[in-house]
Symmetry: C2
Subunit: 236 residues, 2 copies
Amino acid sequence: MRYELYYWPSIQGRGEFVRLALEEAGAEYVDVARTPRGMKAMTRLMERRAAGQPPFAPPFLKAGKLVIAQTANILFYLGPRLGLVSEPEPARLWAHQLQLTIADWVAEAHDTHHPIAGSLYYEQQKAAARRRAADFRSNRVPKYLGYFERILKSKGSEFLMDKRVSYVDLSLFQMIEGLRYAFPRTMARLEAKHPRSVELHDRVAARPRLANYLSSPRRVRFNEDGIFRHYRELDS
Amino acid sequence: MRYELYYWPSIQGRGEFVRLALEEAGAEYVDVARTPRGMKAMTRLMERRAAGQPPFAPPFLKAGKLVIAQTANILFYLGPRLGLVSEPEPARLWAHQLQLTIADWVAEAHDTHHPIAGSLYYEQQKAAARRRAADFRSNRVPKYLGYFERILKSKGSEFLMDKRVSYVDLSLFQMIEGLRYAFPRTMARLEAKHPRSVELHDRVAARPRLANYLSSPRRVRFNEDGIFRHYRELDS
């Protein structure tokens, strides 16, 4: 199966969680919006009313005739097909539950710089952003990181699900990467308390296919248009 | 199967989306935290480290040995078992995609009164709340409502998925209920433009089991501790 991924071409954003799964599995895929005329194709697919099943927003994945949106939903679909989760239903539901928790975390990371409205610039909501980011740093990041650390500790295994890497591990890697970029001082303080999560991050980064991807031009650089943005004033 | 639902006893919140599905299906279930010593049972289950699969937050559902958290994940599991979605994978993924879009909408509804931090009182973030609510009313509610309206229009059917009611229809009903409570003026203005969504809401409310549930003491009243809160100043 040759997958088509549709996502904004200039940011990692939510699409990156899907890219990491496709890359780790060595799947055949096209990052459509990054090809010539790809943005047009993406817009067309979103507006195609006839289909009756329009995505609310990117990312979405075309797999044969299926068009699947919502990051966690895409990963739920891809997981067993890419060998990135075990087949039995309980395992798939547990992985999905963790992925949905990461999705909540991602939304909160985004809202640190856009607490008022996505339709306004960061500069128009800076005061609120400072307050929201302070709460995110002191309460939310420790709560989420602590949650995953606790699971890794109780499992005692190399990865979140079991001995094999799953798409949830890739997503936790990406969260840590993003938080390091956006909140380097906060993460420098918190990482020592979450050694298992940091080890998992390193283990994922060292996987041959992922290491290759991360150093390739296919990996978009972090930047201040994405979900994880570095604004010094939000990390003090 | 006798299901056990775990959720905060004094609010509708996210648990309500699960309650509606269980009620519509006439499923046997216990709303555990609303029984004597139920809150203790809920806390114990969340802290039980041995299980290795702790929920991050309520709601969660106990189904035999399975403990499933994340509202949309619970509904994904229950859907086919309660006859509230068709069995084939494409239908289940499409329903889930819509449910995840509703989950995003719910989070945004919550953040209108808590744009800075869940750990602070509304009164401590009132100015930011006014601004966020203004954007929610003018941009976000029309965008989400318009999305579902467009699907209903293109389908031309009584319900979102097909001719039979699905858990997504129940959730859209609940969104409209919640928004009417929290933002009555906004909804009075918007409803005429979204006739199919309003009709779907009424169709769901008139279903015998749901009508019975909605007028029973099992339905918690909307209040200012929940996700949908009525603050006059946020609806002007």
